[in-house]
């Protein structure tokens, strides 16, 4: 671990990540810029390139942090959701996270990025496991290996459609109601869906 001097920063990598997070939180609509990060870290415009080969690498690193925080946020909403209502709480937490950290969420998902980035792959795999386990616990009669994808996609889609203003996201309550209703509608409509499936044959 190098020491901090007037010339050498000490831990510029961490400082860049912190600066990037701050900038994303402060302006949820502006794109993250290397130069702004450097300014915020009190360092020359090109210094961050010593730690991140390009802008994409920095964004990926920030995104990886975001995945971990999202996972924690979901667990905090409910450690072991089982009933539809508890599942809906977690779904609301997911969308809430997207709306509370729009720029971070977009960096995590909406930015064209290198899908081979190891940090990102590992972090999303963790979310995948979480969703699968939750499905296994909450819907014992179903196959978690096929059901986890539509469940994640549903919640993820709700998040994006709110983020993009397709649904009313004016107040937290409106969002919670919307997400909860939409999520629970699947359970409510389950008998009708089963019937529709049966009618095909």
């Amino acid at each position: 671990m190098p020491q901090a001097t007037a010339y050498h920063h000490g831990d510029l990598r961490a400082a860049c990540l912190r600066a990037a997070r701050e900038l994303l939180e402060e302006d949820g609509s502006a794109a993250l810029s290397m130069r702004a990060v450097a300014r915020r870290a009190g360092v020359s415009p090109t210094a961050p390139y010593r730690h991140f080969p390009d802008r994409e690498a920095l964004v990926s690193a920030v995104a990886a942090e975001g995945y971990r925080e999202l996972a924690e946020h979901l667990v905090a909403a409910h450690p072991t959701p089982v009933t539809p209502d508890e599942l809906a709480e977690v779904a609301v937490a997911y969308v809430r996270f997207a709306l509370d950290h729009p720029a971070l969420f977009r960096a995590m998902f909406a930015e064209p990025c290198d899908p081979d980035n190891e940090e990102r792959v590992a972090a999303t795999a963790a979310i995948e496991d979480y969703v699968r386990d939750t499905v296994r616990r909450a819907v014992p009669g179903a196959d978690p290996d096929t059901l986890w994808t539509p469940v994640w996609a549903l919640v993820h889609g709700l998040a994006f459609l709110h983020l993009d203003g397709k649904f009313d996201a004016s107040t937290p309550d409106a969002v919670a109601d919307q997400v909860s209703t939409a999520f629970l509608a699947l359970f409510t409509a389950a008998p009708a869906l089963a019937q529709a499936a049966a009618a095909q044959h």
Copy 2:
């Protein structure tokens, strides 16, 4: 309608939209730039600003076109889907559209944009109606006014997760299988979902 001369283009607005579409199709990862659009249209760098107050306006106009094309694409996949398999075909078409026109799809959804833009609101309202009608037709026992949201969100989420490399999108067949399986899993799991809902009380 103004005439085309050496100085005056004639219909620069349409030319800009066409150029923008071409650029988005050619490079699915690069951001759309006003100057590139101007170059492609064979016009000075600032000329497009006569027709679009800022970049956001141009992107919104292109996005609105995209919504219409997406709607046509879905209808082309199946005019009146009823059975789960037919619904799955439409879902696959939705994701296919996203993957075939990644930059356009991102412009439509992943770009922070003015939600008050009239063209966008009208275009998305059309999709909303389409999904609602489809749900009404295909799942007669359910309430279309509450079920259309999770359905759209599910398919939309699948599109984004594929677009972002969270699911395997290496071949068209892999995508079709994935989407189809995920979508049909809802019907397959419907009895288990109904049972989970019933167990809550």
